[in-house]
């Protein structure tokens, strides 16, 4: 499977939360994107399902920014 790109992740996030792709940068804080915790769960699990990746709670707790999330999705 080819490596996950920032653009692919940004496109998927746009499908879950109301944000423009142009506004997303590797420095964007993930918590700021989701208005509530349920939306946050949807966003993070949706990405894992899309890219066939499994992230644990411990791994997620270390991720703050979009750049770090893309890195985690890529590392598997």
């Amino acid at each position: 499977m080819p490596a996950v790109t920032f653009e692919q992740v940004a496109e998927h996030i746009r499908a879950t939360v109301p944000v423009r792709v142009a506004e997303l940068t590797p420095e964007t804080t993930i918590r700021d994107l989701a208005l509530d915790s349920m939306l946050l769960v949807e966003m993070v699990v949706d990405l894992q399902e899309e890219f066939d990746v499994m992230l644990s709670q411990a791994e997620l707790s270390r991720i703050n920014t979009l750049g770090e999330l893309v890195e985690a999705l890529r590392s598997q």
Partner: protein, 204 residues
């Protein structure tokens, strides 16, 4: 037959918990892939229907549901952290659904239960049993991907949190729950993987 202030609070609490369950499963319905989409979307519509059944029940008894701010699920997620992946979502659901069944079953044991309330719980229980069943089957399947041990550990973590939060809730709302029998509200664990069983034996 009318409702006491406590009864109205309790039924409104059920309604609001069912709404939270529906909202959560709305999100799950959006991210789940493959054949499970059908069951999860069905589940989402069941929970929404349960909140409707409670609304109908309260209205039929001549009242309006009270707006409550925080549902059981919110406290629960605060305590155990957000489910990180599909398996954790299913594990949390397994534990919560068993709690719901156990609690509704206790409610059915109240002497001289209002027949409208009784009929509502009985209708809801039919769906809740199916929820526990398909989620348990899915967890068994996910054990192939996430590992039996990891699934068993996660279910255990949520079960412990659930017991603590439920006990806390019973204490906090002691007056509201005063009529409910206090024994037997915990449903037995239904995920008994060999890894967990082996771990248990070792510690003895």
């Amino acid at each position: 037959m009318t409702l006491s202030e406590n009864d109205l609070w309790l039924l409104s609490f059920y309604r609001s918990s069912e709404i939270s369950a529906a909202l959560f499963f709305g999100h799950v319905s959006r991210f789940i892939r493959g054949p499970l989409q059908k069951d999860v979307t069905h589940h989402f519509s069941d929970e929404a229907n349960h909140s409707r059944l409670w609304t109908d029940c309260i209205t039929e008894l001549g009242h309006r549901p009270i707006k409550l701010h925080r549902a059981y699920q919110d406290k629960y997620l605060d305590a155990v952290g957000l489910p990180a992946n599909v398996m954790e979502v299913m594990a949390a659901t397994n534990v919560l659904e068993k709690r719901v069944i156990g609690h509704y079953r206790q409610h059915l044991r109240i002497p001289n239960l209002n027949p409208v309330v009784k009929a509502t719980i009985e209708k809801i229980m039919l769906d809740e049993r199916w929820h526990v069943q398909y989620v348990r089957d899915e967890l068994q399947r996910l054990a192939g991907k996430y590992g039996e041990e990891e699934v068993a550990r996660t279910v255990q973590r949520y079960t412990e949190a659930d017991r603590a939060i439920y006990a806390e809730g019973l204490a906090e709302y002691a007056e509201r729950f005063a009529l409910l029998p206090t024994d037997g509200a915990d449903e037995p664990a239904d995920i008994e993987f060999s890894a967990l069983a082996a771990g248990k034996q070792e510690s003895h």
